[in-house]
Symmetry: C2
Subunit: 457 residues, 2 copies
């Protein structure tokens, strides 16, 4: 069996801790593990190989987080330049493997708390998939949620798929007992899925096939922008599951949460006796039932209840418990003012490591740059800015103009405008440097890449 | 008449925006003006000269804020190395002026919203003071506050001073109509106050006189630590007002607030239609009646009410409206963990300008340093750290070892451990530089001052 991890996700519902370029599945929400990592770990014992369908901008983040698990899994990354919903994404994964292979398709950003129940449910689904069935996982509803679609079941058969209900209808569904939340997890043979896709959404199938065949291949399968644009955006539910006659539903009581809001994150996190989530660097005086996600600031509360407090270095959100679905509206408003704040954190992840903007003002910008052992930034130059580099930890192998030399802790170099330069950490420990940029224009797009290990030029 | 501005104040009740070294009266709470500046402006038309009794650590902050008003006032600064409450502080101001002078004594950290009523009340007090009376200002109580002392009046006569009452007693006081809040404002001739102090608290008078005579004098009157220690700490109320037979009270309906908590700050600040304080960089979705004090982060709220949200670069406080008197308890807890966080902001004010800590980690620290035009840091060296300076705005006149040279924007210099160095802004505009410190110990106390314009060596 192969596990297909779907890594789309726009990063708006848990903003500001998630951002477009740092979506929810990669945020380390639990004991320094991300939901993506938890998804991999959860399935590591169930499958022989993994494929990860992921936006190309997050490729190195996904790869790094996978490597950090040190599980030595066989994995294939399929890189999307733009998202086209789940039907094309799953089609790519199905096309990339043996047609007889059973695929277990899972979102990368859900939480499942009952591992044994999960494994038992997967095994049941797998048996059905072995008999050429398309299996969907129906989550036993814990309450009358109006934000999910429901599946009406009769034993293992699906009677119907239901859109998001109103409150009364949701109540009735829960009372009836044979309605399940549509979880977005599936199990089927690659060839069965592809055949049904071809039958019920032939254009999606054809364009996906063309796109797959046209992909560039190196360590990853790189789908091309022009091809992706030609595919109709469609979910697997609309394209196949709601139409196919081969569908089964497996009821799943597995401690599932989609962590689709801070309210559900609050439910999932460990809490103290007063119902406040456990977090370092927090002082509560007389406060109860609060979520606190703290960055590196000290957060104190006095006599407050039922607040979701989410702090990052550039944005703070304080929402009433039960209202956190409005975060999406908030992100819409923020985007109008400052689109960068919805895209990236002040700390940005790069294939070679990360940087944090320490200060930004007209005429200059100060960054702290961390380069992973063995990693190399592109050979580059800038039209509008000079850079000063000061090594504060580790050793940098620096190319500056025509010279390449080592820069040790407490040493510095100056890179004039237009000078070719490169930063390389040829050591076994992280390299940390302070960069002061000076110039009239300091946008990240003033960069001419002459050579790049990560094919960004 | 001379105005005596009392600038004591510990900076705990509005923490984290106020800190021990940046107390409430110097925080720019209103349209970029501090309460200290508002106090000066309020009294500028009433008096011919000012004296400011201030902790010596805040001398340059007070001087700078006074200069920034460009009022060209005649002023005397009296510098206390430690506070000894109001009786000795006022005694020093009285000793420093002509004995016949009428003193108007005012705290530096109160808000008065009705200027015309204030001036009329002061004039009434002044007439009484002219006739050798000790006048206290009694604030007409707006509600049954239990946190203040009260003055029971009979016409202009004081019948008694009352300690902070319980709620029922406070209600009775307000109903009676002849009880007033004790505001901490006074008016009297210098010689009358000193005579009464000598009569009712002779030890305080004698030790204050000795201390005053022993002070070092340059632009300021610098009281000496050993002398100050010998003075008993005492308030003017206990030492004189509650005992003297010469006391009058002038009722004052002047829009007074002591801004002693975020609750009272909320009342004083301008608000939008939903009752949220006006502040830049804030988005409210369905939220009402909130105080938001924002630093440079975007603050968003969703469906929350009656919250006092106070954000600074290193600490965030969220308190329920009505509970902000507990901030004092909070500061006690914070102090146990991190005393620096109660003392200073990440931005620290210095006589020559200010610095902001951008990043601090074992082995290195990054600061942004701003030097005022004409200002000069001390000639100094460090035992444990090297420094890299990069000028990002303005021109620095740098002494580095034996050389002195100009460093322009986009130029840098390296100062090794033990090397004498100095920074001087010999220009008409602010100088801004980025300093990266590297070393095993980076405390502010690793500084050997060889020469200093501000007498700190």
């Amino acid at each position: 069996m192969q596990v297909v991890i779907l890594c789309g996700g726009s990063g708006t519902r848990l903003w500001p801790i998630s951002r477009t370029l740092y979506p929810k599945q990669f945020v380390k929400l639990f004991q320094d593990e991300s939901l993506f990592q938890k998804t991999v770990t959860r399935n590591a014992g169930l499958a022989s190989s993994f494929s990860v369908v992921i936006n190309q901008d997050q490729y190195f983040m996904g790869l790094d987080q996978l490597d950090d698990l040190k599980l030595n899994l066989k994995s294939t990354f399929i890189l999307e330049p733009i998202g086209r919903n789940t039907a094309p994404a799953i089609a790519m994964a199905a096309l990339a493997c043996n047609p007889e292979e059973i695929l277990l398709v899972v979102p990368s950003d859900h939480l499942i708390e009952k591992q044994a129940a999960y494994e038992a449910t997967v095994n049941k689904a797998r048996e059905l998939a072995q008999n050429d069935r398309l299996v969907t996982f129906g989550i036993k509803p814990g309450y009358a949620e109006t934000g999910y679609g429901y599946i009406e079941a009769s034993g293992l058969e699906v009677k119907s798929f239901k859109e998001k209900p109103d409150a009364a209808t949701a109540e009735a569904y829960v009372k009836a007992g044979n309605y399940f939340w549509n979880s977005g997890m599936f199990c089927f043979k690659a060839k069965v899925f592809l055949a049904e896709l071809k039958k019920y959404a032939p254009d999606v199938y054809e364009e996906s096939l063309k796109t797959f065949n046209n992909a560039r291949r190196d360590q990853a399968i790189r789908l091309q922008m022009e091809d992706m644009k030609s595919i109709r955006s469609e979910s697997i539910d609309y394209a196949v599951m709601e139409k196919s006659q081969l569908v089964n539903v497996v009821p799943a009581d597995i401690g599932w949460s989609d962590l689709g809001s801070f309210d559900s994150l609050y439910e999932a996190l460990p809490k103290d006796q007063e119902g406040n989530t456990l977090s370092e660097n927090t002082i509560h005086l007389g406060s109860k039932n609060n979520l606190v996600i703290s960055h590196n600031r000290l957060i104190s509360t006095i006599d407050v209840e039922d607040l979701m407090i989410v702090d990052t270095s550039d944005a703070l959100v304080i929402a009433k418990k039960g209202s956190t679905q409005k975060v999406k509206d908030l992100v819409g408003l923020v985007k109008k003012q400052n689109v960068e704040m919805t895209n990236v954190h002040t700390t940005a992840h790069r294939p070679w490591g990360s940087y944090t903007i320490l200060e930004e003002n007209p005429g200059y910008k100060v960054k702290q740059i961390t380069v992973r052992p063995g990693a190399k930034l592109s050979l580059q130059y800038h039209h509008h800015r000079s850079e000063h580099w000061i090594v504060v930890s580790g050793i940098a192998t620096v190319t500056n103009g025509d010279k390449t030399f080592d820069l040790k802790q407490n040493e510095s170099t100056y890179i004039p405008k237009e000078a070719k330069h490169r930063l390389f950490n040829n050591q076994k420990e992280d390299l940390v440097l302070i960069e002061a940029q000076v110039g009239g224009y300091l946008g990240e797009d003033d960069i001419v890449r002459l050579q790049d290990d990560y094919k960004r030029n």
